[in-house]
Amino acid sequence: MAPVEVIGEVTGESAGRPADPAALRRALRRSERRRQLWAFGLTLPLLGFLVAVFVVPIAGMLKLSVANSELATAMPAATEALRAWDGTGDDGGVPPEAVVAAFATDLEKARAARALAPVAQRLNNAFAGDRTLLQGTARNLPEAPDGSWTATLEALDPAWGEPRIWQSLKRAAAPWTDLYLLQALDLQRDATDAIAPVSADRAIYRNVLLRTFWISFLVTLFCFVIGYPLAYKLSTLPPRLANPLMILVLLPFWTSLLVRSAAWIVVLQREGPINESLLWLGVIAEPVQLVFNRAGVLIAMTHIMLPFMILPLVSVMRSIPKSHMQAAIGLGASPLEAFFKVFLPQTRPGIGAGCLLVFIISIGYYITPALIGGAADQMISYFVAFFTLETVNWGMAGALGSLLLVATLLLYLVYARLVGLDRLRLG
């Protein structure tokens, strides 16, 4: 309604004083500005929505991956003492008595305030078993030291006499931590604070990331190989036939992802229709394992992702006039040559869009590999879910999420460089 009022105002003004072009220009500019402001105002809800559901959570995730406030919140005095401590000590790495005393006093305070749990978990994130060490010590801590606090703690658990736990505490007292980001790259800080690889039986995240990209790449490839001819057929059929077929392509979209994944288990299982028919036909002598392994994940994900490949391809192919191919053949090209030299290059924006869509959606997949895959087929989202839902380790969940985000952005940049974003057409 407002733009109409503005226009009315301008015409009214110019009608009153027709001979002042400068005033007219000013009024026009003013109304133009107001119109722009109004138009911008219309996008505010969307902008607000984007900030609320996109920018803020991602910023939060990045922050979580380096956040280190547990110790500072629950044990402020000990944190200060540990920060001031230079990391060396008389006993080869155990801090001086003053620092230990500050820690012990704060430990008792935190226990009484029941604020110790986050600290215990923070320590356990860095070293398995430190949760019990801290909680057990806090439970049994006497009110006054027996001699020195250093000796008292060591009597409660010999671990307090070793430099390792104090190094852990000093790292937990820092304002930020690289613990989670390093762990997400299979790295850790060793005793000398240098970055070192973790032991082989814990080094999994690089592999998981590679596996995530490899599975997504294969799914994209299969979608392309299956989807391209199908999209071509769909784009050449008359609408009377193409529309019902298009609905068949879209049908999976209208079924829940969970249902589709579960249905694939039924189809692919040992005594399922595929194995039964292959046995009946005599192609195989024993049922083949098609589910709870990589093959099952690839089959199910390709099926689920196929519409994302077909839709942009069809839309691009429909815009290519038939006369181009006819002209090429008329000018002496063989049908194959015409296809590769004339048709294929024109579909590139659709190929780019389809592949990018399928790939980017695939790398975030969780439920399908979890249900249809084996233990060696889980993708990175599975571990993000493990850390958020099962162990409530937000640091690791944030670090893995950030890692995925950075890796995806890098791939996207490579893609933009190779293909060009202006060549992208999403439908």
Binding site: A113, R114, A115, L116, A117, A120, N124, N125, A128, G129, D130, R131, T132, Q135, A200, D201, R202, A203, I204, N207, V208, R211, I265, V266, Q269, R270, E271, G272, Q289, V291, F292, N293, A370, L371, G374, A375, A376, Q378, F383, F386, F387, L389, E390, T391, V392, N393, M396
Partner: protein, 346 residues
Amino acid sequence: MSVTLIRLAALAGVALVATTAQARDLTIVSWGGAYQDAQREIFFEPFTAETGIAITEDSWNGGIGALRARAEGPAAWDIVQVETDELVLGCEEGIIVPLDWDVLGRDNFLPAAVHECGVGNIVWATVLAYDADRFPDGGPESWADFFDTEAFPGTRALRAGPRQALEFALMGDGVPVDEVYDVLRSPEGVDRAFAKLDSVKDSLIFWEAGAQPPQLLASGEVVMTTAYNGRVTAANQSEGRNFQIAWGAGYVYQLDSWVILANSDKQDEAMQFIEFWADPDRQALLPPYIPYGPTHVDAAALVDPEVLPDIPSAPQNLPTGLFFDDAFWVDNVEALNERFTAWAGQ
């Protein structure tokens, strides 16, 4: 029109104020579904009938985060059924209160059911299950059989992840039930468990959701699997299956517990309910509905002998039961999950 709107708004406002001002009922939160239906019939409704204290029910899916959210701010939940990790963490964090054990009596309950801040209210188990119809000459009887692919060829399934899998691997390697966690606490013990898993790696698949194991058995996908005991019995009852649980092989049992939230303003009523629930005669009524074991030491003897063999806390089953060590797993689950993933990917 606007007058009507204003009146409507005013009315809604009054209604809102009225509901918030209204006295809150004692609110009990459990897992919902058929299980909570049974709890309502056996515990909630008789409690209201006897004491006149009205109960409002809610259900949840667990998770320490959800519990924390409810424990902050004004009282909304009073009594909540939790799993042991939420009990341990909630107690450490002080969001649930210590119970008055002088009233309940420590000796009245299974030792595992007694915790400073909670009382175990059901026993459930992860067991070795198989389809007896596919083993006419007798199915597996021990975890050694589970790891013996020559005597029992075919695929077997474990829950994805290291929990319970490592315990069962050690049992299969000949470790007595009561020494499993001692062995598992040493690095050599962990190596030993993974070596045992590795011996059948080619025949192993992993399940993610509790509904999967009965499905895997029914479809012939696996010859034997770990499973939650309640799911196995339910499949036999509702689908007429002939699934067997090898209780004698050894099983891992876990507890759910009643806890009272620290921000509840109905501490006395809540405790009154827990005392009412604790009655062994009443507890013994639950297993016929759903095969979860009672925690009162006298209750097992009062359970219908028909269903007694199906419950984890039955006296004949308990000698081979291993109480799941939550403290060990809260400490080690991340490290061992990484190791499990590394092993699976090799």
